[in-house]
Symmetry: C2
Subunit: 711 residues, 2 copies
Amino acid sequence: GTGADNDLYINQAIVFIEDAIQYRSINHRVDSKSLWLYRWYYSRTCQWILSLTITIILALAFIEKPSSLTITSDVRYRLPAWNPPCGLTESIELLCFLVFMADVSVKSYLIGWEEFWKNKWLMAYILTLIVSLSDWIVSLSFFCTEGVRIRRILRPFFLLQNSSMMKKTLKSINSTLPEMASVLLLLAVHLSLFTMFAMLLFARTKDGQPDKEWVGYFRNLPDSLTSLLVLLTTANNPDVMIPAYSKNRAYSIFFILFTVLGNLFLMNLLTAIIYNQFRGYLLKSVQSSLFRRRLGIRAAFEVLSSLKETPANTQQSYVSIGALLRVLQKVEMDSRCKQAIMRSLKMCSCDQLSAAQFQKLFEELDKDAIKQHPPSPEYQSHFMQKMQFAFGHPYFGYLGNVVALANIVSICVVLVMDADKQPSERDDFFLGAINCFFILYYLLEMLLKILAMGLKRYLSYPSNRFDGLLTVILLILEIATFAVYGFPHPGWRPEFMGLLSLWDMVRLVNMLIVFRFLRIIPNMKFMALVVTTLLDLVKNLRAFAGILVVVFYAFAITGIMLFEGAVIPLGNIRLKFFIFIFLFQTSFYIKKVVVLYFKEKCDFMAFFDCFQAEVIYCLFYLLSVNLICRWAKIYFVAWWLISSVIWVNLFVALLLENFIHKWDRRCHREPLSDIEYQRTVELMFRDVLEEPTEEELMEKLHEHPHLQLCR
Amino acid sequence: GTGADNDLYINQAIVFIEDAIQYRSINHRVDSKSLWLYRWYYSRTCQWILSLTITIILALAFIEKPSSLTITSDVRYRLPAWNPPCGLTESIELLCFLVFMADVSVKSYLIGWEEFWKNKWLMAYILTLIVSLSDWIVSLSFFCTEGVRIRRILRPFFLLQNSSMMKKTLKSINSTLPEMASVLLLLAVHLSLFTMFAMLLFARTKDGQPDKEWVGYFRNLPDSLTSLLVLLTTANNPDVMIPAYSKNRAYSIFFILFTVLGNLFLMNLLTAIIYNQFRGYLLKSVQSSLFRRRLGIRAAFEVLSSLKETPANTQQSYVSIGALLRVLQKVEMDSRCKQAIMRSLKMCSCDQLSAAQFQKLFEELDKDAIKQHPPSPEYQSHFMQKMQFAFGHPYFGYLGNVVALANIVSICVVLVMDADKQPSERDDFFLGAINCFFILYYLLEMLLKILAMGLKRYLSYPSNRFDGLLTVILLILEIATFAVYGFPHPGWRPEFMGLLSLWDMVRLVNMLIVFRFLRIIPNMKFMALVVTTLLDLVKNLRAFAGILVVVFYAFAITGIMLFEGAVIPLGNIRLKFFIFIFLFQTSFYIKKVVVLYFKEKCDFMAFFDCFQAEVIYCLFYLLSVNLICRWAKIYFVAWWLISSVIWVNLFVALLLENFIHKWDRRCHREPLSDIEYQRTVELMFRDVLEEPTEEELMEKLHEHPHLQLCR
């Protein structure tokens, strides 16, 4: 009947608007039941369960069989880690797989059969699940004793396919690959030509003299290639050239030429190319997000305009305001936006909306969120008004900064004075008394500010929240100290009592005081700019970080499997290897590992004494097992390329992009102190984005696989 | 008289046009004698003498008293270097100073008294000369025995003040300093806050256990600061964190936080800021160059329009074509431009030029130089025409590339096969025979190409010149080999004869063959783009490199003076220190030196065995002399900041700028194979430059201190 039809249209409009808000594709089934399933699938609970499942399956690696979750990393003092019995982690895995199977079925059903065949991500999802389940069955049938577990390498795929932002970023990265490959090819040509030069230049001489350069670095082709590759990371510079240099200074020209060409030119060219390529693709992906939003809104308009209650109009379609209000009440969206749209709707005098008006109404979604702080309390008493003026004034805040600085300086002075003293000679009284005084001041400052601004206004500023929280923690710590150790007095050096010794308590308080000093940041203009840029970057970086986690996870598991045979004699430190690289995913560390790894002439025991970290065991054990040596080389070089070369350059590109946009924006308008803008990658590009035309939207709508529009 | 006036005007116009061509300021005296002096001063001979003088005075450092110009750098095998007698280098210096005094007098006279007081560079020049001369007198009166020689540090100033491009670049760098200082301040805050944290975190515990982290890296404030500063260069990572990490894994969070914040965010932010700031200033400086050019042309127009032979016109001023032709004949400029301007003048039907027409005529100067290759010879014989078609076809070039690749592969195979053989087992016959064959092919290829293209056309391509030159050298080497060692035959292993042994000859030939393989570059599109970008970069980089040389020279001389007392006991290796840093001015090395320097716990003898380079002596001697220790630290950190942080970032900014412009340009128009553009930094920005308006030009002209315009 007409009523049921109308309900369907309303529900469709609700879902399309929610799609627009979340930048989702609208190409899904639109019948009543499917819409209910769709809204249920994208409800918070469902998505939360899915995220939790992904987290659990990824976190399994930390407790699975080659586990090493212990506090110390020193194998000599460590207790053996807990190993779960066979079947425990496997049953958790099965539960996760069941959730994923439900997920993929619902997703496939919702987009429909035809779309399913076009969607490569869904196909890959199903394939991954099938492979994982088969591997799981094999694993159980061997009672968890088999070594190669492919499903572990595949796990990060579940994280990848669940985030549309990550898929988009991956697409961007994928598009820059040809250019990156060109530069990497160039780098390979550079490397191989110089390797040949080096082998000819540092060849074994016929006169029988021992040539240290040849023996050390250019003995054969793999050695030469390795030496120069490591030189490209600047890690064995200048060791690699010292023997030749001490024979004849002119040999250094070869190394300088190689370093300048490879490191200064080609490596930075890679940055330039990635920046240039990536800039365009980021904009493109944001542009397609905008298109999705406009398309969702337009689809909602089209279905609402075919409601029977609307008078038929041959020329143009309209939507009645009543229908839109009904839709809006049911749509799940940010309450601020909803209120703003409602307000505009009430201000509108007409009772029908054209497509353009409808679209304009929802532009509220694209706007910056402007945060208004609650007003200060109004005091009647003249004295209180004066107090409010004095303690609400910025100068009072500056005074607080000066006091915090004084506190830092006093701690610093005490540290310098105590540096050379024996622990037994140290007097804790001075620092205790000083900190007691300063913490009282901080408490007073907080209370006076709350008095002047009112609690609500005080808490609405992030800097005040930070400040207040730390002050309260400091106060609690100080009271705890006094409760356990009594009030400070000269010669205050009590024995260990309670949870922490007095010295530890004082250290903790001092660290918090140093941390609290960061409150000065918003007061310094340039620093505030830098910090907001960094915070924006962190927001926009989530997709990148996700992809890094995916790549890293796959790499670490591959590493564990690859080096399993080599590492077995040293006990279950295989996963350590994983955690170790995890902790040092910053590229800086990898460089060093590669060097250590390639320094084949080192004395094992010397390094053992120096470092005492298990990674050294792993690496040197790998070295002694000659068979895996080459695999390990390729593995490390691949990881260096991905983490140090490509990822760092992508990061630099993103930072350049963010910073330059921000800087340009700063020059255009001065930031107002009371308004805080929340920027996302979409808003950053707003000035350069193109609005999709009506024709494009309608053409796309008519291509919708499930929605039949009347006209 | 009128004739003399006319001659003066003509001469003025000539000089103004030459100023415009060279982007020089026109604010100099314009009377007849001064103009003669001006043209003489800027003549090639004069400028060449000046450049030679600057080169000589800078090169003096290599032979001056603490000299170490020897082939080997190993102090054990080295003969003592030649030390010039007192008075030799000093008299050369005096000659140079005399040239500089003449230079500064002419320059000061030419710009006039009023302008002189405004010109800070000239004042600094005179001041430098006075200080240098006083120092020279002091030096001679002590019979060259005094240690501190200020004039050596001042020497690079002569290089700096002679290049307008370097002065401009310095101005750009100077303008970015406030922003750089902000980030460096931020870095300092970051460093000091983390130092305090570290000192509190890794404090000496009261329980008396030896804490390796504390002992090794955080014993007191300077130690902690140094450890974290070196961590910022990623050089002591992960050594610095291993003791803490092996105690408790959670300590690594501190180091990761420090590295990510400092190294990934702040350091890259510095790149972003320098790129953003520098981009604008480079454009600005190019804009001011354009203004100078337009101003020079306009000034020439104005003086020519006041020639008496031109009919007076109250409304607008005109220049007669005859006068311009007379000027053009005497102007020294690129012959291609001159011909183009002459051609346009002849095509112009009118006999007078307005200001706009005059300006337009000289726009030829801004245009890209388009290089036309001479035509191929036209053969009558049908056979020769076929030959010409076959060997002039690109496919013949590709065949040559394939043959070159085959040669490289064969050399590579022989090298791999010979790698493990003893020199006595090696058979030179195979390589000799192969190379003989390939070199014959190269010769044939060259001759056939010359036949097909004609010698002139062949030589007009840079790739052919490169190819031909190498082929000729290879041929000569091969003939020389045969002349000395006879034709190759199995078991061809003759004894050492002539200048080089057979093995050295073969190696040299092979290296040239590898080098010749670079001819494939223009055939690969992306590689060609990268290489042209790099070549452009080198052109635009001269000013930067000059400033680096200036800074480095001053640094090296300061280092020699600073560490003189410390290094005396080891003989005259002071200047080695200078040369050593000179050879490794790339930032990469400095990092390592700083590390070696700060690794105070190393065993002297172990390092001596490992490196055998005198820099190690210097550094460890410095360490043993505690007094200079702090100075050395500050010196190294300053050099790290300048060479590794600031200069490398400036370089990256320039590379990004160049590459992105080039890339955008490539997308706009496809490069034609027969036309080669010569790009400069001016041409790169042509699309975004603004033409100065008539009013701006006239206002500037009326401000000219020596030129009185009639109207």
